[in-house]
Amino acid sequence: MENLVIQTEKLSEWVNEVIKKNKVFAPVKETDFSNFKIIDDYSEIDFTYLLPRVPAKKILFKQTETLFLFTPGSKGSVQTKEISDEKLVVFSLRTCDAKTFSILDPVFLGDYADPFYKSRRERSILIGLSCNKPNVNCFCTSFGDSPASSDYVDILLTDLDGKHLVEVVTERGKKFIDNYKKFFTSASKEDLDSKKKVEEQAIKGITRTMKLEGIPEKLDKMFEHPIWYENAMKCIGCGTCTFVCPTCHCFDMQDESTLREGARVRVWDYCMNPEYTHHASGHNPRPARMNRVRNRIFHKFNYYPINDNIVGCTGCGRCIDYCSVNIDVIDIINKIGEAES
């Protein structure tokens, strides 16, 4: 749509200007890793990060959300939870985190729109930052994406050493950037070429590949396959893979109340927990880790493609990074590709 440039020393001025009128989320150093947090000043941003530990889904789909308020008890009443109209800016998103929302949109904006997600989605500007040094388990390229992709953001920044290329991708991004014209100049052809170099370099840094071709269809024939048992034997049933996953969206709803006031909250839930599907009657349709591990992989690589025509994985590699027993989704999918169905 429009290609601009901002001198890197101006970046702080611009972002601080943005902070005045928007709630800005950016990666902030926690203890020894980064997470998306609301920042009050540009200086809080951690640019040494590769990926925030908890994915950006948490900004639009919060881990804990109050759905409505109520007066507890058998004479109860309900009170609507007001939804804020604050403008949100998610700053410095990587491709894999930005793609999250393309995958979650069909879920949260389907037949019944989730008002919390919908509202935040409509109120937020996604500003990407090209990834220039991918991690060992990064594999966004396996989905045809690039670490410097502008496909899923409103605005994409690329660090060109001394200046940042600013690609304005969407109408929404254009309207936003027009408020801050003074910080930007037009990009030259050299700038775009430099970006290409950065991108190529980053792509070269991605060493692992998931061979996806034909996988969704092949899985149809692999529901009963030893590979699920093999991987499930290792699984310890924690929720790490789901909580650090940019596309896992399952949640639980619980009433939390005192004697006088209460709220129904929703919290991220994880399908690796046997409780997750446990019926009150005692029956459990997914009683074993095998059922649960299989369901998670099928959900991403078979059910998602069938229902929403998209693979439910962005290639961020977090589930591989933080799995303590080396359940490796790249390895699983590649083995499925090689296996006899």
Binding site: F68, V107, R286
Partner: protein, 288 residues
């Protein structure tokens, strides 16, 4: 949906229930697995008039502070101004529901899910095969047909429970037995003094009743193992996969296809079900 002070509608929050008053509680079954039926009337006049559903659909019912659970609507859509649900006590929220008294307030969301094709089944002979609390959604169909009796062929209600005291809707079955436009076939699992009907499991009773598959639709609901054998027996009786329907149960939270837990394969029981034909069910690959 709620109107704000300016009279415009606010964003609809599908998680927020509407208030309904418990106007009548019927004790169906006592004991450890007690069952009660609740007649609920929406507090808001507009909803009371506009709330419409089709047999097969379900609602999410809350006791505020305790939680929310899924229940098949057990009344018929022909019965206006109220809905009924039947609740077996076995969790935190259902226990709280069992504590309620007439006049108390609950939250209701819905109706959700797909429906029995009651319109499409007009002119057909209907066989309902229920077990335990699984009769709840079938009761909705049963009453719907009785209220539109001339539009359907013969009507058979096969129903069984563990013991005679576990039978749900006892009085209603007793009333039905007096009618000649519906054939009631009750059973209990083990011999009991004073029981004059069939003794044995529901699938066996089905073979005793031997309904004809011609121009018929069979709908079954009950414990998973019962459903499995009922379907096997229906096939033996010559029913095709398209003539057999069931309604499935899965743990649900949102009821609207977002929270993720009720899937069987790529389908969500809450929005793609809960009603499935055996033809669909057979093709499903997933954990049930």
């Amino acid at each position: 949906m709620t109107k704000n002070s300016e009279g415009t509608f606010e964003i609809q929050n599908p998680y927020q229930p509407l208030l309904a008053k418990v106007v009548k509680i019927t004790n169906e079954v006592d004991g450890a697995r007690a069952i009660k039926t609740y007649k609920l009337v929406f507090q808001d006049e507009e909803t009371k008039i506009n709330f419409s559903f089709i047999p097969g659909q379900f609602v999410m019912v809350s006791v505020f502070g305790k939680g929310e659970s899924t229940f098949a609507i057990s009344s018929s859509s022909t019965q206006k101004d109220y809905i009924e649900i039947s609740v077996m006590k076995h969790g935190k929220n259902t226990a709280a529901l069992h504590e309620l008294e007439e006049g108390d307030i609950v939250g209701v969301r819905g109706p959700y899910g797909n429906t029995f094709d009651v319109k499409g089944w007009e002119g057909k002979n209907i066989i309902l095969i229920g077990g335990g609390i699984g009769q709840a959604p079938l009761r909705s169909v049963l009453n719907y047909i009785l209220d539109n009796r001339d539009k359907y062929g013969t009507l058979d209600a096969i129903y069984g429970a563990r013991t005679s005291s576990d039978i749900c809707y006892k009085e209603e079955f007793a009333e039905l037995e007096k009618r000649d436009d519906v054939n009631v076939h009750l059973s209990i699992d083990v011999e009991e003094e004073g029981w004059n009907n069939y003794v044995g499991f529901v699938p066996n009773n089905l073979m005793e009743v031997k309904p004809s598959s011609e121009n018929a639709i069979a709908i079954t609901c009950g414990p998973p193992i019962m459903i499995e054998y009922v379907i096997q027996n229906l096939l033996k009786l010559g029913f095709t996969e398209k003539q057999i329907y069931t309604t499935l149960e899965m743990r649900m939270k949102c009821g609207i296809g977002i929270c993720g837990r009720c899937n069987i394969g790529n389908l969500y029981v809450c929005k793609d079900g809960p009603v499935f034909s055996y033809e669909q069910l057979k093709g499903l690959q997933g954990d049930m």
